[in-house]
């Protein structure tokens, strides 16, 4: 900002701090809850400071899980979620980067049609086609498998369009220089296009990883075996105690653990991520 007035600075900070508080408060409450014993939540007042049961709660969840709700140890579910999120993110990126490459750089018959087909799938997210998709996956015998968890979610029109946009910003001269330099299509793709879209791929990876990690409805539908429960769907099962009260302290501990991988991904790729979203130099 070019303005340099103390009052504006103060206002900006107040608003930003308020925003941070609004976002952070629930996380804090969840963390506090995960460090108390089972009875502390039933007294009517919610404690605002951490209690003494941190080690006990977390080691319990990591070790055994919550047998009463039929969920396995947190580690298993985390691993399932991780596999699912990685497969979705990597799969989506590979497929969309290749289809964008085809659409932008090749003149093939029915190119326009292919483009519009991809475009139309934008209007058909998983939630809309969930019943037929479930039918197909069930018929193919992919219930309770990683393939069933990931493949139906992999195709992505949004990512294809993003890469198309990125490729369109790469100057024609660069393509022509590569042609004169004797780079065939795949070489051009590998040596020029991929490195130039590196930051966009990173940004997209972060977004898609979180998208995959947060998948809820689809895993809930197609996993019936505890071996394939994902963490997000698992948390719901835990909160859904059939007999008796939900064990909030354990649910919250699981929720805190579930937050770690996305946070690690965001922090680890932060620099590339920001660059990918703001960078214009090509």
């Amino acid at each position: 900002m070019i303005e340099n007035r103390p009052f504006l600075h103060l206002m900006a900070h107040v608003i930003l701090i308020a925003g941070v508080c609004i976002v952070a408060l629930p996380v804090w409450v969840a963390f506090v809850a995960s460090t108390h014993g089972p009875t502390d939540f039933m007294r009517g007042t919610i404690p605002m400071w951490p209690g003494p049961h941190f080690v006990q709660n977390y080691s319990r969840m990591l070790d055994r899980g919550l047998a009463t709700s039929g969920t396995p140890a947190v580690g298993t579910m985390m691993l399932n979620s991780l596999i699912m999120a990685l497969c979705i993110a990597v799969g989506k990126i590979v497929i969309s980067v290749l289809s964008a490459f085809a659409i932008v750089y090749f003149r093939f018959p029915f190119r326009g049609l292919a483009f519009w087909c991809i475009f139309i799938t934008l209007m058909l997210p998983v939630e809309v086609r969930i019943v037929p998709t479930f039918q197909v996956v069930a018929d193919l015998g992919m219930l309770n498998s990683y393939a069933g968890l990931t493949i139906p979610l992999i195709a992505s029109a949004t990512a294809t369009f993003l890469f198309r946009q990125v490729f369109l910003t790469i100057p024609d001269e660069l393509t022509e220089a590569a042609r004169i330099d004797g780079a065939g299509p795949m070489k051009f793709f590998r040596d020029i296009l991929l490195p130039l879209s590196r930051t966009n791929i990173a940004a997209l990876f972060v977004i898609l990883f979180i998208y995959g990690w947060n998948q809820y409805l689809w895993p809930l539908l197609i996993t019936t075996s505890a071996d394939y429960y994902t963490i997000v769907a698992g948390i719901r099962r835990m909160a859904d105690a059939v007999d008796g009260l939900p064990q909030w302290h354990l649910v919250m501990a699981t929720a805190m653990l579930a937050m770690i991988p996305p946070v690690v991904v965001v922090i680890g790729m932060q620099r590339l991520f920001v660059k990918g979203l703001v960078e214009t130099e090509k």
Binding site: E176, A177, A178, I180, D181, A183, I192, L196
Partner: protein
């Protein structure tokens, strides 16, 4: 190194008229040819057809003794320097230079040798390991030329390589390109819309207008005997005065001409000169002045030394052989 022959070359982008029509040029081995003309006259199109980046609608391009119409750019044995340099932004200068050689399977040691040699010729050795982003415009330009010379191609193709540089740098780079080409003796085709660049660089000039060739010749030929009013007005700065012959009926020997051309620098002040000019505006250039005026209702410009006296009306003279006469309808040169 090779000769390049364009025969009856034409390009149709498939929307109305042709971008290039009926172009015939014989380019000798080692010759420096400059294609010059106003914006949109088809210079780039012509060059890109030679490069193989644009399909050829009609006619034929030969490089050496091969017809290359159907041959991929990479296999035509040419190298191109682009206006915006088109360096690979994610590769270091060294990798930029080496990329074309690597793709052709040149041995490592040979690549190394050629890159170092090019770096020395172009004085870019100091930043071989930098990314193009960290270079100035002039340095990028050198790298772009380096990428062309490491390939040791049969021909260099330049598409306005200097137009992104500032005026001063353009002059130095112009000279360097010329010296480089002299030294390497590689056949070159150079596109520019700057007539000064064209004059200074070319062994032969090709003046294009509306996709057709107006004139081919050495810079001096073209300057001294422009083949049409278009060339006359385009080559030379300030531009040649082109006056309707009817406005100056008293000039000797112009009776059968439609347009009379005379270069501003050929006009001198003389009390009994045949042209009377009413001065409208004066531009100081330092060593000399540009004087704009009217004669018989037609605009006329002359350059005079800046110490020459200025009056509202002046009489101007010239030598008969400095007069250029053109046909009225076609604009072609008469003699």
């Amino acid at each position: 190194m090779a000769s390049i022959t364009l025969s009856n070359l034409g390009k149709n982008y498939g929307g109305g008229g042709n971008a290039v029509t009926g172009v015939n040029i014989d380019i000798q081995d080692g010759e420096f040819i400059v294609l010059v003309g106003p914006s949109g006259c088809g210079k780039s199109t012509l060059l890109r057809m030679v490069a193989g980046l644009e399909s050829i609608s009609e006619g034929e391009v030969r490089i050496g003794d091969r017809v290359v119409n159907q041959i991929e750019p990479a296999d035509r044995d040419i190298a191109m320097v682009f206006q915006n340099y088109a360096l690979y932004p994610h590769m270091s200068v060294r990798q930029n230079l080496a990329y074309g050689l690597k793709n052709r399977g040149t041995p490592k040691a040979e690549i190394e040798r050629r890159v170092n040699e090019a770096a020395e010729i172009l004085q870019i050795g100091a930043f071989l390991d930098r990314k193009p982003r960290a270079l100035s415009g002039g340095q990028r330009q050198r790298v772009a030329m380096g990428r062309a010379i490491v390939r040791e191609p049969a021909a260099f193709l330049f598409d306005e390589p200097l137009s992104n540089l500032d005026a001063k740098l353009r002059v130095t780079m112009r000279l360097e390109i010329k010296q480089l080409q002299r030294r390497l003796k590689t056949t070159s085709i150079y596109v520019t819309h700057d007539q000064l660049e064209a004059m200074t660089l070319a062994d032969r000039l090709v003046v294009l207008n509306g996709g057709r060739i107006e004139q081919i010749g050495t810079p001096l030929d073209v300057y001294r005997r422009p083949a049409s009013t278009f060339v006359a007005g385009f080559i030379g700065s300030p531009a040649m005065n082109l006056i309707d012959a009817r406005a100056v009926p008293h000039l000797p020997g112009t009776a059968h001409a439609g347009t009379v051309g005379i270069r501003p620098e050929d006009l001198t002040v003389a009390p009994d000169g045949p042209i009377e000019m009413q001065v409208m505006a004066v531009e100081e250039l330092g060593a000399q002045r540009l004087i704009h005026g009217l004669t018989g209702g037609e605009k006329i410009t002359t350059t005079l030394p800046s110490d020459a006296p200025l009056t509202d009306r002046m009489r101007l003279s010239f030598r008969r052989e400095q007069l250029h006469l053109f046909q009225r309808e076609t604009g072609r040169r008469l003699d």
